[in-house]
Amino acid sequence: MAKTQKVSFKLNGKPVEATVEARELLIYTLREKLAHTGPHIGCETSHCGACTVDLDGMSVKSCTVLTVQCEGAELTTIEGMEQGGALHALQQAFHEEHGLQCGYCTPGMITRAYRLLKENPNPSEQDIRKGIAGNLCRCTGYQNIVKAVQSAAKKLAAAR
């Protein structure tokens, strides 16, 4: 067996630990060792964004991050969006605006939009389209995803 090492980080606010080979990608640690199957795999080459997670305040594609790089990090995944039993405004808006079909891109898309709205709470349609360009969706044609992000932005602004 190849050499392994222990990595500790915070996942959706909870401290976790995983024993991994140096070559293991974060997406596999999340999905196979930490039972977080929300982030998906669509390419493993950084193109589709299905694996997007939030790492120390940045959207990253977890298929292109080594787990050993995450020592001490703070990670948020789709599983961490719901707070105290209440859906995040983005989750609600994706539902209300029909921003998903097969649901495969959805966790990555929502996680990306979460960071986008933190960086730019009042994005234009073009800002949103550019902001989610790293996340591919084969089903929706993006139009309703854009609408969902706009609607969530409004709700979040109203709640501030």
Binding site: G42, L136, Q143, V146
Partner: protein, 804 residues
Amino acid sequence: MSQTAELKEREQKLQGMGTSLLRKEDARFIRGQGSYVADIKMPGMLFGAIVRSPYAHARIKGIDKAKALACPGVVAVLTAADLKPVKLDWMPTVGGDVQAVLADQKVHFQYQDVAMVLATDRAAAYDGVALVEVDYEELPAIVDPKKALLKDAPVLREDIVDKKDLTHGPRTHPNHIFTWEAGDKAAADAAFKNAPITVREEILNPRVHPCPLETCGCVASFNKATGYLTLYVTTQIPHLFRTVLAMLSGIAESKIRVVGGDIGGGFGNKVPVYPGYVVATVASIVTGVPVKWIESRIDNISTTGFARDYHGVGELAADKDGRIKGLRFTALADHGAFNSHVSATKFPAGLFSICTGSYAIPNTYCRVDAVFTNKAPGGVAYRCSLRVTEAIYLIERMMDVLAQKVGVDKAEIRRRNFVKAEQFPYTTGFGWTLDSGNYHAALDKVLKAVDYEGLRREQAAKRADPKSPTLMGIGISTFTEIVGAGPTKVCDILGVGLFDSCEIRVHPTGGVIARLGTMTQGQGHSTTYAQIIATELGLPASDIVVEEGDTDKAPYGAGTWGSRSTPVSGAATAVAARKIKDKAKKIAAHLLEVAEGDLEWEIDRFKVKGNPSQFKTMKELCLVSHTGNLPAGMEQGLNAVAYYDPPNLTFPFGAYLCVVDIDKFTGEVKVRRFYALDDCGTRINPMIIDGQVHGGLTEAFAVAMGQQLPFDESGNHLGNSLMDYFLPTAVETPAWETDHTVTPCPHHPLGAKGVAESPHVGGIPCFSNAVIDAFAHLGVTHMDMPHSAYRVWQKCNALGLNKR
């Protein structure tokens, strides 16, 4: 409350047909709680990874597993030799051919499956793959289908070289699969001879890939103690899949359970039975533990169901006003290494003969010649019924070519040739009976909405201005689709008719569970079917649960592809619900002590005619049906199952218009506007329909503007990752404007037709027509897809448009 307000409130509570009910399936997906095949983890599970061929055509001289087997974590390496004893080294295809499960003596395309490494974890399996040593002797490959039938072409399929016929008629060459024809050649030839105007164009539908975001995969779990096989698999056809597995494995079909689970998009890619599934299944049977196999993206694009690769020739004959008098369409079809393309048995070229489109055309003839090449096998319908995109692309392109030759407007040429509203039902030259349509009205509505005259004036002004940095193109597509396969008298796969089913059980307190033979991959079935039942039974959609995909639970059906869910299973749902309603009516009559004929239905109840205070709600009847207070001789319960054999296919149609601006200096095509009017008959959930149209148009945009699987002369893939294969992002994807008319299907119980594929089928020619229209004033009649900036720039450059 006024009476109408009360009725309205009761109706709204149901959230039945016609309302944009938010989707029931979203709850799990927005929380990251979908259950896709790759998410499944079982105790003791092994991982399979596939060794693939680096060559497109080569002899396998030896396979050395020793190093791989010595690799930590590797449990076994399976090759064709290991599958031979269980007779699973080759499998029959639905196209009447056989296909290697693992390459036996020869590889026929690059990335073909050669061996599967089984290991205790995923990484170890891939370590093993790198250590399997395969000794190849490279052979000359055929990449261009036009060279497949040359006299001295290398023989690809030595295994069937003596077979005179692959169930679709005589073969004329070792690389020939079939020649299929339809219509009346003599009549068509005569029409061309006498016509004042004829046009001819070579038109390619390039090899593309549906590329759903989730790749294919499975977890096979064979229980040695019970002899039961469970397969969790990315499939659009769980029941047919189970039948195929039974045929292949010899396991009784009652001991096989296929589970579709959540599917991350299909678009035709998840219809076929791929070698990986079969090897994983054998591996589980041999090892007695679950085996998981998940494709990589490169595997997915390189080896699983490609689409199209139809090299067409379109010819139309017309009178001097452009009224069409004859049609001849042919295509050379590249089916790759094995004839495993997906099609109903009687339709080796799919529904290609729908190629008369929306037009009344006499004297029609079409022919398809299919050949083997050293490319991945298959040929699936990428968001269409098989070969419908190819057919409609040809006719919609040829209508423009004809308009240019006659010198009339591209909308006008269509009007002159449309089947008129009063001609329906209309039987085409190829024998399809178009059940309903209203083509003139649809086109006129679109032209008015976009101010077509104004657009043409703007275009004329741009053309007159040599300083204009852009070209402007206007594309029209007025397509007719053919969906909802299909009537069992003509449609079967492996002998199983393409009916579909719905079983409904009503519980005492009014909750409903419905199970169907279809398989959603994102189309929102749980919502749409619930709405049908809500309206039919007067019970709220919120309390109706829909299940599909688990063959142990759902009744038999042919799955979801070819937009068949609403046309076939939607109909089955209505029929099953109506059986329940009939029984409920009898119970109501019994309780109210009146004759059945004295009752009338109102939203959610049966009332006594003329005495509205006397009624029984469906909810009350649900409970009573579970008591002894029933008409004499009636059994308890409110359950029904319906198997629906459609009398005909359905023919949704639409009118699309696209405006593009092309940069003369870069070749970049900007879609300024895309207006899509769809007529899918009765609309069950307008929100879901719009969503399907957005998705289909985006996939059409992808095909028209950038998708193509390129190969070099040796058959090497030149673009099989998402780095090269074009999937549009939110930035390139245009904004879509949608509209509709409603022409109900006369033979469907709800008047509904399919819709999700219309935007793909109708969208692709619309984009192409727009791009080519931009060059039409310069005498250009055709440019092949995809219209990438480089290719469009080449055209600009060739025409000298980019000179300042």
